[in-house]
Each structure stands twice: as structure tokens, then as C-alpha cells.
């Protein structure tokens, strides 16, 4: 080995190109290739194994169990079961809820993000950035209790509105109902929209606007022919993400209504907790499978829209 190297060295000194030949053709070549091919896979292995165990296996289990009956035989009876009655209603309600709480927050979120983006106060932008980051992640139990304190039957806002005889509870409002849940969802959906859409808004170049103005376009025309067409794919993409977020949410609806409204995720929880007709224990997996199908379709759409969006904006 040592002698080999010595020989190589003398060659290097005498001729540079000879060094290259020795180097490339050395017997180490095989080992080198092995390292190049093997080590990367090895370095990725913990991550790949981890995600397979924590994500791959549960997903496969859900799909597998969705298509099996109690006795473990292959069957589509569960799928049949969720396509009708209360479980179908659950999907319909979930989709309705997700549509309401993605389209409205999407519009409000764009307005809010634009207002903040065009304001000249750096402090305000930073404040809103951290606030959106916190609030977008602030679903679940904490949010539920905050809203009970606000709009519950003795909540702060309810009491205030009662003074001016506008108590929402007297006008058919119920925090613990479908629309109550929708109202609470806005609280994390709007900040989520602000987070997602701000980079796109920041990508609207001032020069585009100036170019439009130089050609005599009014503000309205600028938005109609430049601003909105450029932003639309990004806004649509963000709305799809919001739809997915609302459709999949469980904690807020469950803790607010203690599971009494028919929503697909809540029905999964009910089945998993064992509150189900005998012989239908696998229906939960079928609902979970149905959710996977809807969410996958949403994400595929998102991918397509995203590709269109990246044409003009980051």
C-alpha cells in the first residue's frame, strides 16, 4: 500500500495527467462507488424508516381495514355503509363546513394581508407576523375555552351585546352548533391565510403597477388586468390548503360541541371510542379512508394550481 502511494507520488511529480489516470484507475474505485451509493442511503435510512413506521404503516392499516369486515375478510360493506345515512351526512357537513371556513377566511385574509403588507410600519408587520404564526396554530381546546368566554351564554361579548338588546343567543345563534364551529374556525383560518398569502402579495412588483399607470390604467383597471390575474392562482392554492385544514380539524369541533354534530372526523373519534353499533366497528376506518381520498384530491389540485401560480410569483 505504502509503496503504491510512493509510486503514485513520483508519477504526480513527473506528470500531472498521469496522476489523474492513477487516481481514477486505482483499485479504490470500487470502494469509492460503494461509499457514494451506500452512505447516502444509509444517512437517509433513519428518516425513511421513521416516517414509514409513523406515517406509512398507519395509512396502510387504515386502507386495509377499511376494506375488511369484522372477520377480516375482504369486503366493501364499510364503504357502502359510509355512502348513506348518518355517515354520508357527516361527509356532507364536513365539506360544507370546510367550504365556508376556507372561502370566507380566504377573502378576509387577502384583504387583511394586503392592508398589512402595504402599511409602512415595520413594527406592525412584525407584530402581525408573530401573531399570525401563533394564532394559525392555535386550534383546539384553548381556542374553545376562549370563545366560550367570549360568546358563550355568559361570555363577555354576549353580555355587552345584551346591554344594547342584541344578545345573539336571542336571535338563534348557538356557539355549540354547526355555525358556531364555523365561526370559531375563522379564528385560526384567517391568520393561516395571512401567513400563506403574504409572500405572494410581496411578490406583486411595484414596477407592474407603475407600468400600468404609465399606460393610463386606473387603480381598478390595474387590479382587473394585472393584480387579480396574477394573484388568483396563489389565492386559489391557499384556499385549497385552508379547505384541507378545516376538513381535517377534529380538536376544536370535538371540544366545543362534545361530539354532537355530525362531522366526518368526529364520527371517526366516536367509533374509535367504541360508541358504535356491533358489527360496524370498521366503519371508522372507512370514514378515515374517505377523508384520505378527499384530502389527496385537494392536495393534487393544490399541486396543479401551485404550478400555475409559480409562473409569476414566488
Amino acid at each position: 500500500m505504502n509503496q503504491d502511494r510512493q509510486e503514485d507520488l513520483t508519477k504526480v511529480v513527473s506528470n500531472a495527467s498521469a496522476f489523474e489516470t492513477t487516481f481514477v484507475k486505482s483499485p479504490n474505485r470500487f470502494r469509492r462507488r460503494l461509499i457514494r451509493g451506500g452512505v447516502p442511503t444509509l444517512a437517509m435510512a433513519p428518516f425513511l424508516i421513521y416516517t414509514f413506521l409513523g406515517l406509512g404503516i398507519p395509512t396502510l392499516a387504515v386502507i386495509n381495514l377499511a376494506f375488511r369486515n369484522e372477520n377480516g375478510q375482504a369486503s366493501t360493506s364499510n364503504i357502502h355503509l359510509i355512502s348513506q345515512g348518518i355517515y354520508r351526512l357527516g361527509f356532507e357537513n364536513s365539506i360544507k363546513l370546510a367550504l365556508i371556513t376556507s372561502i370566507i377566511p380566504s377573502i378576509l385574509g387577502v384583504i387583511l394581508a394586503y392592508t398589512i403588507q402595504t402599511s409602512r410600519s415595520g413594527l406592525l408587520r412584525r407584530l402581525v407576523a408573530t401573531a399570525s404564526g401563533v394564532l394559525a396554530n392555535f386550534g383546539g381546546v384553548n381556542l374553545t375555552f376562549m370563545f366560550i368566554a367570549t360568546l358563550g351564554s355568559t361570555g363577555v361579548l354576549t353580555v355587552w351585546l345584551n346591554v344594547i338588546r342584541l344578545n345573539p343567543w336571542h336571535y338563534g345563534f348557538n356557539l355549540y352548533s354547526f355555525y358556531g364551529v364555523a365561526f370559531v374556525y375563522m379564528y385560526f383560518q384567517i391568520p393561516l391565510m395571512v401567513l400563506i398569502i403574504t409572500p405572494a402579495l410581496a411578490g406583486l412588483r411595484q414596477s407592474w403597477r407603475e407600468a400600468a399607470e404609465n399606460m393610463g390604467a386606473s387603480t381598478l383597471r390595474y387590479w382587473r388586468h394585472v393584480g387579480i390575474p396574477v394573484l388568483l392562482p396563489s389565492v386559489l392554492g391557499a384556499t385549497l390548503l385552508l379547505f384541507g385544514s378545516a376538513f381535517a380539524a377534529y380538536a376544536t369541533a370535538e371540544s366545543l360541541t362534545t361530539g354532537i354534530i355530525a362531522l366526518a372526523p368526529i364520527q371517526i373519534g366516536v367509533v374509535l371510542n367504541g360508541n358504535v353499533v356491533a358489527g360496524q366497528t370498521h366503519v371508522g376506518y372507512a370514514i378515515a379512508f374517505g377523508m384520505l381520498v378527499i384530502l389527496s384530491a385537494t392536495m393534487i389540485l393544490y399541486g396543479l394550481v401551485r404550478r400555475r401560480a409559480s409562473k409569476w410569483l414566488p
Binding site: 404564526g133 409572500p199 376506518y285
Partner: protein, 286 residues
């Protein structure tokens, strides 16, 4: 859980520094009523529930101001057990998540750039596959010994935290000239461990910190998996605790979560800012 894009865009948003936006025409200086209106309505909508939550948690049963709810929190039945469990889960999740994600992401950036797309795809999956579906699949598939341990939740929280963990690290690594730094460190005689510890990690501090805070917030707020796996973490305890139909104690516990996360994030953002300001000043002095 609404963590879908939470951490995703946060980095980008925070990176959005005033420059470039400053030179505006005088057109912008005019006071715009719609701007004030939007800010007012948004402010009211987002601040009112926080105000209500704080007011509610700072009242006793008769509506008088008091710290009773917060004071009775530690002695409330089950709270300290739930708090301890949540803390242990948070620490375990943080450790595993960091050990798994940091080396993998650095390695991919350094040696396998073509794997970045694969990692991006895998780490977005927990958004497509929601917690309720994951736990529905885990419960029948996990072996009994795993199901009897609360740390199964930590195992799963690492997955739930991946979307923003990876994005945060990815953004942090893209912002530095990783290759040059590593080569410089290696040619100065640093081994891989030293390079990681004293060159890469200090440069990643902001990204690491924000990933960690979001992970802790996720673990402390996660309800879906914990409740269905029947472990009494803080959020599960909050929904189960019920003394005389009095929500003050639960609201107090909820508000602690919000205020705590916010405080942490603000501190991190200001550390990050003062750091970048200092380095800019240094660069200016040179």
C-alpha cells in the same frame, strides 16, 4: 389541529424586512379610511377573545378580580399529573425530532440535493394525512407494548411537527453558504462533529429555535391523538376537568398556553433581529 401551514410561511414572513418597500410615492402617505377600518375590525375580532379569556381567568365565581383561578390551578385534581406528562412528552418529542431532522436535513443539503424534493414531499404528508386518520391507523397497528406507553404520542408528534420543522431547517440552511462553511471548517482541521456543533448549528440558531417553539406549542396543545390514545395531557385534562360548571380554571389553563407561546415566539424573533442587526453593524464597521 390547525397546524397545517402554521410554521411554513412564518420564516418567509419574518424574513420580510422593510427594505425595498420604503420608496413609495406620496400617494401612499394619504390617510386611508379603509385601512383603518380593516385594522380596527381585525383587531377587534382577534383581540376580543383574548381579552375575554384573560378577563374570565382573572375572575372569581362572583365576577370579582382575583388570581384565584391561576392559584388553584396547581392544586386542581389531576393538573400536576397532566402537566408533568405534557412536559415529558414535549421534551421527548423535541429530542427525537432534533436528532432525526437536523442531521438528515444537513446531510441532504450537503450531499444529496436531489433528495430535497423527496424530503419536501414526505414532510408535507402529515398535512394530507390528518392526525385523526393517523391515530385511527396507529391504534390497531401498534404493538401492545407501544400502546401502553405515553411515548407513542411523542413518536407521532415528531411526525406531526415535520412539516414546519423541515421547512424551518430547510430555509435556515438555504440562507447560509453551507458548503463553503463546511469546507472551511474541515480544511482547518475540524472533524465532522465539531463542524456540526461549532459551525453549522450556531448559524442555524434562529431556524432551530423557531422549529423548537412550534414543536413545543404543538405538543402542549395537541388534543386529537392524546384523547383517542386515552392519555390525560393538559388539553385532555382541560376538557375533562369539571368542578361545579365553573370554567374559570380551565380558561386560565388555556390562556397560559396562548400567552406562553406568544412570549416565546416574540423573544425568539427579537433575538434573531438583534443578532442580524449586530452582524450588520459589524459588517458596516469593516
Amino acid at each position: 389541529m390547525a397546524s397545517i401551514g402554521g410554521g411554513l410561511a412564518l420564516e418567509e414572513l419574518l424574513a420580510e424586512v422593510p427594505q425595498g418597500r420604503a420608496p413609495r410615492g406620496s400617494r401612499r402617505l394619504r390617510f386611508r379610511p379603509w385601512r383603518a377600518f380593516v385594522m380596527l375590525v381585525a383587531g377587534a375580532y382577534f383581540l376580543l377573545p383574548i381579552y375575554a379569556g384573560l378577563k374570565f381567568s382573572l375572575q372569581d365565581i362572583n365576577g370579582r378580580f382575583s388570581f384565584e383561578a391561576f392559584q388553584s390551578l396547581p392544586s386542581a385534581p389531576g393538573f400536576s399529573a397532566a402537566f408533568g406528562l405534557s412536559m415529558r412528552l414535549a421534551v421527548a418529542t423535541l429530542v427525537v425530532s432534533t436528532l432525526l431532522m437536523v442531521p438528515t436535513t444537513i446531510y441532504v443539503h450537503l450531499r444529496l440535493p436531489r433528495m430535497r424534493r423527496v424530503m419536501e414531499f414526505i414532510t408535507i404528508l402529515p398535512i394530507v394525512i390528518p392526525p385523526i386518520v393517523i391515530i385511527a391507523g396507529v391504534l390497531p397497528a401498534a404493538p401492545l407494548w407501544a400502546k401502553s406507553s405515553p411515548y407513542l404520542l411523542s413518536f407521532l408528534y415528531v411526525i406531526l411537527a415535520m412539516p414546519f420543522n423541515y421547512r424551518s431547517l430547510d430555509a435556515g440552511l438555504s440562507a447560509i453558504d453551507l458548503k463553503t462553511l463546511v469546507e472551511a471548517s474541515r480544511s482547518l482541521g475540524g472533524n465532522w462533529f465539531m463542524t456540526l456543533l461549532r459551525v453549522i448549528l450556531p448559524n442555524l440558531r434562529a431556524a432551530l429555535l423557531s422549529a423548537m417553539v412550534l414543536t413545543i406549542a404543538l405538543v402542549l396543545g395537541e388534543f386529537t391523538m392524546a384523547s383517542l390514545d386515552l392519555w390525560s395531557t393538559i388539553p385532555v385534562w382541560i376538557t375533562q376537568f369539571n368542578t361545579g360548571a365553573n370554567g374559570h380554571v380551565q380558561t386560565a389553563a388555556s390562556m397560559l398556553g396562548l400567552v406562553g407561546t406568544w412570549l416565546f415566539l416574540t423573544i425568539i424573533v427579537s433575538i434573531d433581529r438583534s443578532e442580524s442587526r449586530r452582524s450588520r453593524r459589524k459588517a458596516g464597521a469593516l
